[in-house]
Amino acid sequence: MEKEKVVEVRRLYAAFDDTVVLSDVSFSAYQGEVTVILGGSGSGKTTLLKHLLALYPVERGYVSVLGQDLARLREVEQVTLYLQMGVFYQSGALLNSLTVAENIALPLAQHSDLPKELIDEIVHMKLGLVNLSHAFHLYPSQLSGGMMKRAALARAIVMDPPLLFCDEPGAGLDPVLLESLDNLILNLKNKLGMSIIMVTHEVSSILRVADRIVFLDKGVVVLEGPLTKALHSEVPAVKEFFSVMKNENVRELLK
């Protein structure tokens, strides 16, 4: 039985002034899978992600997230959709005027009637999941880069959204933290059935968590398919991307 599509993009086109950033982009992401969007710098990954998050308007093409056509979304429907999505920004994007706990509690406080004590318990639990319990009362400016990212992940999953978007989650993390983050993402996928769309360059992460790959090159999808297809791909840009990573895991998987 074919899995349900959580994200569907068809013939998406995006340009800033005269610069075409995305050209005829089409791909799908499926329920309960980790879909990794790959590509070199300037290939259009961030622009694509912003279209999926409805931060950029869809001017040409079709983008559907959790069955909702983003081009036809009214403001109320957009808010309902956002409540089913978690977004993990590359920079963390924590609100600097709030403590870590207040940041994580924000969606719950604003969108639920849960009592404050219970919200605090949930925040404690989520911080524990990302090994950041001690940062409850700290402000974002008091966190290191890695801690900031983990706090941002805790905030992204605080509502247990069925769909999680991650923009370069592993950038700037040491290998141990990166592995624990990958394990957490796998747990979210396996135990909660969360669907995850991830933009990353970390090959070790890709090999650990990816189910599907969408490879962008100069604003065009040059490959879409399972991880194994990407690893065996003869598409020059994809082949080059994986060949430069002299990773034992790659060789093992290729065997």
Partner: protein, 379 residues
């Protein structure tokens, strides 16, 4: 007089060194072609090469010993320009090391693109006017309508606001500005009375210093000084805060958490500014009149009792209402301008600084314009 034809071969020299020899359809490179020789080579080459019958130029690189990136780009430039004139170029005989460098630096695509055609002056002016109208006038009006819509509807929905944020902003915008507003108003009131006292004494009209101080402070100086100070102090802070939030993707994060950045970030500031501005203006008026009263006593021997008695005769309730109306207009202008420029930020930290500066200048200008318009209306 017949024009003298060029004779071949011709040498292209850099200082005393020959870097190339042009012999009709063959260019023999020699020695080195580095950043020092590249400029001379390209300039002199096109002066020498004016032979219309040549359709193909061979560049012999066999005696070229050294080349750098500038040299490679000089060869690329020559090739490109000759191609435009319909002359094909073939390079040959390069040594292994020269070939390596050419392969490394020679662009795959035509990177030397022609500059974009500059539009005609009037067309350019028209484009800029259209851009200004859409970006600034329409954008400002749209933001204003959005802000006032949420500002009005959220009055009746306190649960939709961030808890405690209005009070927090009221402290930042209003309470923390009290000291500077009171101090400057006092000084200005004192100076107004001081400068007018010598003139009034000449005509024996000492008592009219009270009229002058009270009227100027209540109707003009008090509200205007307060608004300019708040625009400089809080308008810049609003623009910088919103711009930084945009640059660090905090506004995106707020939106993707299902919250409206306008209601979450800007509306509390609007409430806070509109709520505290009248109080600040009242403080400014009191301080300004006090300063004027002090100067009146020091320079014109008008005692506080006389000053207060006279003040009661000339002070009108209308002045107070006018000040209150002005305070609401100024508060809206300051928050709207700060958030408008904050939301328009581009290019990271540099953009934040630029937008903050523009926000302050524009909000002070708009405040003064609004003061003039309201002054005419309430005259």
């Amino acid at each position: 007089m017949r024009r003298k034809r060029k004779s071949f071969p011709q040498d292209i020299c850099c200082g005393s060194e020959v870097v190339a020899r042009l012999d009709r359809d063959i260019l023999k490179m020699k020695g080195k072609l580095t950043v020092n020789e590249a400029a001379v080579f390209t300039n002199v080459f096109f002066k020498c090469f004016r032979h219309p019958s040549v359709k193909k130029l061979r560049i012999d690189l066999s005696r070229l010993e050294n080349i750098d990136s500038a040299g490679v780009m000089a060869l690329f430039y020559v090739q490109k320009k000759l191609k435009e004139k319909g002359v094909a170029v073939a390079m040959e005989g390069a040594s292994e090391s020269v070939q390596d460098k050419i392969r490394l630096f020679f662009p795959e695509t035509d990177i030397l693109q022609d500059p974009p055609i500059k539009p005609f002056f009037l067309e350019d002016l028209g484009n800029q006017m259209t851009h200004f109208f859409h970006s600034y006038v329409v954008g400002f009006l749209l933001l204003a309508s959005n802000l006032f819509y949420w500002g009005f509807t959220d009055v009746f929905r306190p649960w939709a606001r961030r808890r405690g944020e209005v009070v927090n902003q009221a402290v930042l915008i209003g309470v923390n500005a009290v000291l500077i507003v009171v101090f400057l108003s006092f000084v200005i009131g004192y100076v107004i009375a001081l400068h007018s006292s010598s003139q009034l004494r000449t005509f024996g009209a000492n008592i009219f210093v009270v009229d002058l101080v009270v009227f100027s402070i209540m109707s003009q100086m008090g509200p205007l000084i307060t608004a300019i100070l708040v625009a400089g102090r809080s308008g810049s802070a609003i623009a910088a805060e919103i711009a930084t939030m945009k640059v660090t993707a905090e506004l995106d994060a707020i939106k993707t958490m299902g919250l409206n950045p306008m209601r979450f970030v800007v509306v509390p500031k609007l409430y806070a500014c509109m709520f505290t501005m009248p109080f600040l203006i009242v403080f400014a008026n009191v301080a300004g009149i006090t300063g004027g009263g002090l100067a009146a006593q020091v320079y014109l021997d008008i005692t506080p009792e006389i000053f207060i008695n006279r003040m009661q005769d000339i002070m009108m309730a209308k002045d107070l209402y006018t000040a209150l109306v002005k305070s609401q207009a100024y508060a809206a202008i300051i928050v709207l301008t700060g958030s408008f420029y904050g939301l328009r930020v581009e290019r990271g930290a540099e953009g934040v600084g630029r937008m903050t500066t523009v926000a302050v200048v524009v909000s002070i200008t708009l405040v003064i314009l609004a003061d003039s318009v309201l002054g005419v209306i309430f005259y």
